[in-house]
């Protein structure tokens, strides 16, 4: 429970409409996009000025009160989940686009600006902001920086870290950090890379300068069907080694494509084991050349059917199925749990085979949606939270899938972040020394450990306890740690 003294001091700083304390007011903030995790916050601060943010942090620093930052609350790993006794500091009121510079192709924005709003503001100049997480209509750019968000066009256009030029941030010690100012690099260590994806553990972001890109002249979508998932996977490798860098490259397995087809009638071939959507973009000429090359490669790779969208409407339809895949799968089952591992693409057939085995063993269906271009796999585990023990079972299956990704040379999270959700799997991906290095980085910016405590990087004790349950290959993880 948050101390009364802290609350009194916050009340002295923030007007009543900027500080929520009543249970019915704070309740809506109990969860982020990972709704399986809930925790009612003690206090929600909704500052309107940077000075208020600074003062809230100063009070928290003084009183040793933890702080959890929150943007639009669309994150999928519990990164903005309230922590007991903490102030939940929501940056949603910082929603102004401060400047769009069409010549320099940059936008300077406050952290609460929605991702899509940036592209909308830039559209008048033929420009856009490239990273497009599926929540882009709602998610905030501050949250995107905190999570290093991706989207469906990362292979060609990169993640948030590749598209941010500068941030201004405030540490819990009250130091303002101006990291970059619009040039392509800044002197000193690359703190911009460190801040991006730091999950609210190092500092709060006050302002962001993003890079804008010219809208491609044309984009074209090709749909290919495969009678075997492995063939689809091989086709992806063939396209890329064939010299084409598609803007988007998405794969769906049978369960996912059936669900999507039933939901939005995208015209997907239902007899396929997997489909691949390939989007190529660029100048008119480039796209025409690339479409021909991609078609040839897909046919040579054994696609049973290759369709090029005949017009914009059909291209939209092809994409509509993919974009609606999550809600479509949601119709098959009362609940679903979305995983976020990344694997080297060539391991896809082996990983999918193993996921199918795990799915059978746990008796929970799994639909697979795959950002095939960058190896980011989103298995969707279907379950019914009303069945006793079902949520825990789904979480165990999810953990097994993430550890499978690590075993195949991949990672536990491609774009959703660790948050609270994957904190135990961090113990599988990193050694004790590596986790200590992460804690060391955290300590540089937040020596008292007040920012988002218990998230993103597990304590070694937590790993020791988790490790005790997960002895793999006879080797006990973290043998150097004392066991309690």
């Amino acid at each position: 429970m948050i101390a009364n003294e802290t609350v009194r001091r916050l009340q002295a700083i923030l007007p009543p409409h900027c500080l929520l304390l009543a249970r019915e007011d704070v309740k809506p903030f109990e969860t982020d996009g990972l709704t399986a995790y809930r925790n009612t916050p003690d206090a929600v601060a909704l500052p309107e000025t940077e000075e208020q943010v600074r003062q809230v942090l100063a009070v928290c620093f003084d009183t040793g009160t933890p702080v959890v930052f929150r943007g639009a609350g669309t994150g999928l790993s519990g990164g903005a989940l309230p922590v007991d006794g903490a102030v939940l500091l929501a940056m949603t009121k910082f929603s102004r686009i401060l400047a769009v510079d069409p010549l320099a192709r940059t936008a300077r924005v406050q952290p609460g600006v929605r991702n899509l709003a940036i592209s909308e503001a830039a559209a008048a100049y033929g420009l856009y902001y490239a990273p497009d997480p599926s929540s882009q209509i709602a998610c905030s750019i501050g949250g995107n920086v905190a999570e290093n968000s991706g989207g469906v066009h990362c292979l060609k256009y990169g993640l948030t870290v590749h598209n941010v030029l500068a941030v201004r941030a405030l540490t819990i010690e009250g130091e303002e950090l101006v990291i970059g100012q619009g040039a392509l690099d800044a002197p000193g260590y690359d703190l911009l890379a460190l801040m991006t994806g730091s999950e609210g553990m190092l500092a709060v972001i006050l302002e962001i300068t993003v890079k804008l890109l010219p809208k491609p002249e044309r984009a074209q979508v090709i749909l290919a069907a495969f009678d075997e998932v492995a063939r689809g996977g091989a086709a992806v490798g063939a396209i890329i080694s064939g010299g084409v860098l598609p803007a988007g490259l998405e794969m769906m397995d049978k369960l996912a494509l059936e669900a999507a087809e039933a939901f939005v009638h995208a015209g997907y071939p239902l007899d396929a084991e997997a489909i691949l959507l390939v989007e190529v973009d660029g100048t008119q000429e480039e796209v025409s050349e690339d479409v021909m090359r991609v078609r040839d490669i897909l046919l040579a790779a054994g696609a049973t059917e290759v369709r090029t969208a005949k017009d914009e409407a059909e291209a939209k339809k092809f994409w509509a199925g993919r974009k609606a895949a999550f809600p479509a799968v949601g119709r098959l089952s009362p609940d679903y749990y979305c995983m976020d591992g990344t694997i080297p693409r060539k391991t896809l057939p082996a990983v999918l085979r193993r996921i199918a085995e795990l799915s059978q063993a746990y008796e929970l269906p799994v639909a697979n949606v795959f950002h095939a271009g960058d190896g980011n796999l989103h298995p969707l585990i279907l379950y019914d939270a009303n069945q006793p023990g079902a949520t825990a079972k789904a979480e165990r299956l999810g953990a097994d899938i993430l550890e499978l990704c690590v075993a195949h040379g991949g990672t536990i999270t491609g774009e959703h972040g660790v948050g609270l959700e994957k904190i135990d799997q961090m113990c599988v991906q990193f050694t004790a020394a590596e986790l200590q290095a992460f804690h060391g980085v955290k300590a540089c910016f937040d020596p008292a450990g007040l920012l988002n405590p218990g998230k993103a990087v597990p304590t070694l004790q937590r790993c020791a306890e988790y490790g005790a349950m997960h002895v793999q290959g006879g080797a006990l993880p973290f043998p150097e740690l004392p066991r309690f």
Partner: protein
């Protein structure tokens, strides 16, 4: 080999005697001058894995860039950030430690952008792995990218995984006569249009632009932009990239100014080569360091001394708050201060 480096680090850690990390030695001149026992890491070399279909290459950091680029070239791929080779001995590790990128950088990304993962030895000799071999990865802080441009002061770079790119089918270099202000404006305007740009440079009243991509797209962009074809385009860009061009040859101090790309002409004395669509300006000038830095800073940029009298400092001074956190990071990764101490900031 890794064990030998690790042993040396542990000894240095025990004795507190600083080490100067060195591989090819092609960038010894870069950064503040430092002294200490040389830790030669050049034997830690070799390409560990390369999967053209994954667009990922992993190599030990002592591997010469030339070896990596030859292999990529054989598979129709390339390093997207077009790193400079200041000598045939230039290595992957040195390039990443300096964070150097070449003419393609504004259109494709920087050295740090292409890093997917890294193995390092920290100042205590601990072998740590960050990131990985996949393009999307947000587990843990982005320590591997933090190492890029840190000049070896946070760790000895052992091995890196990089995203690579397909080589463009066609390239063409066009030239236009114009003054500095117009060159900056045009480079920025072009970059705001869907054109297949891959480099720009302005020098002595001549603006050069390199187009790269599908053959038909390059031809269409040529029709749109006009300009004279430079038949020796490849040679020209190699000169810009590796500082072999005549511009770099005389004895005047060489500065690199990194600026927001649309920054108007700075009016500093001396001659200039403007690259990166206006965002990187090479300046040969005898002007006072303080004046050059002030002019760059006034536009949101910074200035680095590449060649000349280093007594005024090589790197742009950091604001106090940034310096404080950087020093804490140094203290975390290298508590004994044995890794290239002072090469970057005190």
């Amino acid at each position: 080999m890794m064990e030998i480096i690790q042993e040396r680090l542990k000894e240095a850690c025990a004795s507190g005697k600083p080490l100067v990390i060195r591989a090819g030695g092609s960038k010894d001149w870069y950064g503040e001058a430092i002294s200490g026992a040389v830790l030669d890491v050049s034997a830690h070399r070799g390409i560990v894995s390369y999967e053209p279909g994954e667009l990922v290459l992993t190599a030990k950091c002592g591997t010469p860039l030339a070896e990596i680029e030859a292999l990529l070239d054989a598979h129709g791929q390339m390093l997207g950030f077009e790193p400079p080779h200041f000598s045939p001995a230039s290595t992957l590790g040195g390039t990443l430690a300096c964070g150097f990128s070449g003419p393609r950088r504004p259109y494709a990304g920087s050295a740090r952008d292409f890093v997917l993962g890294m193995d390092i030895l920290d100042g205590g000799g601990r072998h740590l792995k960050f990131g990985g071999q996949v393009i999307k990865n947000v587990a843990g802080y982005d320590v591997s990218r933090l190492m890029v441009g840190a000049l070896g002061t946070l760790g000895v770079l052992l091995q890196a995984s990089l995203k690579v790119l397909p080589r463009p089918q066609a390239e063409l270099t066009l030239q236009f006569e114009c003054d500095e202000a117009e060159a900056i404006r045009r480079a920025n305007e072009w970059a705001g249009q869907p054109l297949p740009l891959s480099a720009t440079a302005w020098l002595s009243g001549l603006q050069s632009v390199r187009l790269a991509g599908a053959r038909s797209a390059v031809a269409a962009a040529h029709r749109k932009l006009g300009g004279e074809i430079n038949e020796h385009g490849e040679e020209f860009w190699t000169g810009v990239r590796n500082h072999g061009a005549a511009f770099f040859a005389d004895g005047a101090p060489l500065w690199r100014l990194s600026l927001p790309s649309a920054t108007p002409p700075l009016g500093l004395p001396g001659k200039q080569l403007i690259a990166w669509g206006g965002a990187e300006r090479w300046l040969k000038s005898d002007a006072a360091a303080a004046e050059i830095r002030a002019r760059a800073a006034a536009h949101g940029g910074h200035a680095t001394l590449y060649a000349g009298d280093k007594r005024g400092g090589v790197f742009h001074p950091l604001p106090e708050a940034l310096l404080k956190y950087q020093q804490r990071l140094k203290q975390q990764f290298d508590p004994r201060g044995i890794l290239n101490p002072g090469r970057m900031y005190p």
